[in-house]
């Protein structure tokens, strides 16, 4: 599951931004980690802003955006995503299946590790086995939950694992391996471009199934850039990469990349404006207006994969949480446009579907009337459903993620438009809301957000609304919905599956266990020293194609 508290992007106050982005990092004054400035570093390096990665640079242990950004330059995966967010093959020659369950992956010739060894099928299998092994406590572990043999590696509390490798993975020859899934899933290839699915070289392992301790600071990758100087997490402020001239797809157009670690987005933005930084794929909210003016066509604004919701425990919750009409009335009473423009200063857009605009399958206005601001109708529906007698509405949110402002705005909308008492309820950590929801102890409404794991509509549906879904906090459960999603999974291709997913989506939109409120956006900008800056649906910069201007 990738539920997000989103503090990094929201940043209600400067200190809040600091709270999450603040990741230390250090370099001494002699400028060891200085980057491409007067004091040293590679003067030709393109300088990219990141926060300090939470872990060492190990693909399977990286699910946050800063580490993924760096790894995306160091590695290439089986697939990547084109401008339409559809996967296309990169290291993979083909990814095929007759039954959507057993997938045969063939690799292209010519991809090499930075140490010169060829990239072989075993590298993928080794890497996936390592990440899927619960004993290694990798953040990306859950990505392999759909592969056969995952449960043996992750038996759960108090039980011991009965395997050390996924039995669903088989190496056929150097260029071929097969993956057997637990259930058919036509969207499987869409998963494979994510960081957790990168391969690992022989050189990464000390012995079978054990990574070298220093690999994460000095990783050997297979991508267009290689690390130029080992990175020491916690003290180095720059991660320096240089171009790998032996890269199969050709040389990258820039010589080197320096990832500069910032704890505060506003500071990084000032550095960008002063010309000490080249690319930011995330801007401080207060800098958006300035960026539009100052950067002109070097300002980037595009949808990102996140969706923000108001959710309800529809089975065990309060009266208002259980009533679909009341939920719809609440949805119609929320002024999404004003909230996204005023509270989020344009860093969000009003949501009109439960599937994000970044994946194919999104339909503009799918939510229809229910997501359209109409106070009069909302009040009417609310009253006829008896909402007024259901007691005050509680809105839970985590106080550490900059959510207070928009939750308060929603609360005001509901008070004014529905004439109901609303109590916003801050909780220290998002995890405690999730825990309470998991234990069926949370009765009120709550804020929720979701970032995709892979660009398939399925990822927005099953985990959240499927019976027994890994992040099903709304307790929504409907056999027909489950069947539709399964039909989508079993379809012959992703495109064919989409219509089933959309039908399933419509069912949720009718019931609204989660009310979609806003879509997240990527706001970025780049200096005049670079051009052709593209950001993918995972908010990673395509550094391979960035050029000097």
């Amino acid at each position: 599951m990738r539920v997000t508290k989103g503090a990094q992007i929201v940043a209600g106050t400067a200190l809040l931004a600091l709270a999450v982005a603040a990741c230390g990092g250090s370099s001494d004054s002699s400028g060891t980690g200085a980057g491409a400035t007067a004091a040293g570093g590679n003067p030709n390096a393109v300088r990219v802003e990141i926060a300090e990665p939470q872990h060492d640079l190990i693909p399977g242990n990286t699910t946050e955006s800063s580490g993924a950004e760096v790894l995306n330059a160091l590695f290439v995966g089986l697939v990547d995503y084109d401008a339409e967010k559809k996967p296309y093959n990169r290291v993979a020659e083909s990814i095929e299946s007759d039954d959507q369950t057993t997938w045969t992956v063939k690799l292209k010739d010519g991809y090499k590790w930075h140490n010169g060894e060829p990239v072989v099928a075993q590298n993928f299998v080794d890497s996936w086995n390592y990440t899927a092994n619960g004993a290694n406590a990798q953040e990306g572990n859950y990505f392999f939950g759909s592969v056969e043999g995952y449960d043996e590696l992750n038996p759960g509390e108090g039980k011991t694992a009965t395997a050390t490798t996924l039995k669903g993975l088989k190496v056929v020859d150097d260029k071929t391996f097969t993956v057997k899934l637990k259930n058919p899933f036509s969207g499987f290839p869409t998963m494979l471009g994510y960081t957790a699915f990168y391969p690992l070289p022989k050189a990464a392992f000390e012995s079978e199934g054990k990574l070298k301790a220093d690999y994460g600071g000095n990783p050997v990758g297979n991508g267009p850039f290689k690390i130029s100087k080992p990175w020491k997490r916690g003290s180095d402020q720059t991660i320096s990469l240089v171009r790998d001239d032996a890269f199969k797809e050709g040389k990258a157009k820039i010589d080197a990349v320096d990832f500069k670690i910032y704890t505060d987005l506003s500071t990084a933005f000032n550095d960008l404006r002063a010309g000490n930084l080249d690319i930011m794929d995330q801007l401080p909210p207060e800098g958006i207006a300035t960026a539009k003016n100052e950067f002109g066509d070097r300002y980037i604004e595009q949808p990102s994969s996140g969706i923000g919701y108001i959710g309800f425990p529809t089975k065990s919750g309060a009266e208002y949480a259980k009533n679909a009409d009341v939920r719809k009335a609440i949805s119609m009473a929320i002024d999404r446009k004003t909230i996204t423009e005023q509270v989020f200063s344009g860093t969000r857009v009003p949501a009109d579907d439960l599937i994000s605009p970044v994946v194919s399958g999104y339909r503009q206005g799918a939510c229809g009337e229910a997501c359209t601001y109409d106070p009069a109708k909302a009040k009417q529906l609310f009253d006829s459903a008896g909402g007024g007698k259901m007691g005050p509405i509680e809105l839970g949110y985590n106080a550490d993620g900059g959510h207070k402002e928009w939750i308060e705005a929603v609360a005001n909308n509901l008070r004014t438009n529905l004439g109901v008492e609303v109590t916003p309820k801050p909780v220290e950590k998002f995890a405690s809301i999730l825990d309470d929801l998991g234990d069926r102890k949370w009765s009120g409404a709550f804020r929720m957000a979701w970032l995709m794991d892979y660009p398939s509509p399925e990822n927005y549906l099953r985990p959240q609304y499927g019976t027994g879904g890994s992040s099903n906090y709304s307790e929504f459960s409907d056999k027909k919905f489950d069947e539709l999603v399964t039909k989508g999974d079993a379809a012959n291709s992703l495109e064919e599956g989409i219509k089933f997913y959309q039908q399933a989506d419509d069912m949720i939109l009718k019931e609204l266990p989660y009310i979609p409120v806003y879509f997240y956006q990527t706001n970025g900008a780049y200096s005049q020293h670079v051009k052709n800056v593209k950001i993918d649906p995972f908010e990673r910069i395509d550094l391979f194609n960035v050029e000097r201007a």
């Binding site: 002699s30 200085a34 400035t37 003290s235 506003s266 010309g275």
Partner: protein, 313 residues
Amino acid sequence: MGRYIIRRLLQAIPVLLGTTFLIFAIVYALPGDPVQALAGDRRVDPVFAAALREQFHLNDPLIVRYGYYVRDIFSGDFGQTFRGLPVSTIFEGKFQVTFKLAATALIIEAIVGVLFGFWAALRRGGWEDKAILAFSLLLVSVPTLVSGFVLQLAIGVKLKQLTGTQILPVAGVQDGLRSYLLPGFVLATVSIAYLTRLTRTSLMETLRADFIRTAVAKGLPRRRVLGRHALRNSLIPLVTYLGADLGTLMGGAVITEAIFNLPGIGQQLFQSVYLRENSVVVGIVTVLVLIYIVANLVVDLLYAVLDPRIRYE
């Protein structure tokens, strides 16, 4: 003198134990589970959580955990974070950065504060005095958060865009000492104001003292009266303030370090409190307490230098 220093250092031991225990108790009393904080918003794998709890003695009572901690400290080991980084690695370079920042601030505030205070005291009631009074009021009332961003924008960004040269860097420590000037000034602003007022009051009081009248009466040149007799005898409260301020500056640089992206302990402290990395928090506080103790000792010793009437035995 030597015995006095040894006695003071011995006194530091209970102070150190007491403060670290307090901090230790406080960080562990904070609501929320540190192991959960590690996992962010996801639920932690129970097996993994149990192993961590065991490793970090989280199941033991507070006093036992503190015992383990003190034992490790005495063997020079500050422990590990929950993410497996040794705390000493996190410290690496960070104290240097913060110390440089605090020292820059201290030098700036000492020079500017004492000069302004001196001037104001001499021109007591005149327009210079009033102007300095107004200026110091302005300095105290603008929070660092504001002055930091404003100066960064004005000097780091706008001036660069106007002139084309980066006179003072926007952020980071890559430009050596130059990197510390702007943040040092920002950090020093509030103290400059205090020090100005303190110098002014202290000097004015000294100027009224009998020995100054004597000095003037016996025909000493004005420069000598002011420099040798008046200023030197007004320095004691200033030195006390500066000594205590070094510790405050080092511990209080959180916002300044964040604005100027200086990888110092202030940032680290804030982040560690947030992430519930208790070992780091206690480690930093221990070192800060040590700095306070040493700074205070130095101040006390300086009294004897400034005022020969003060003796330590």
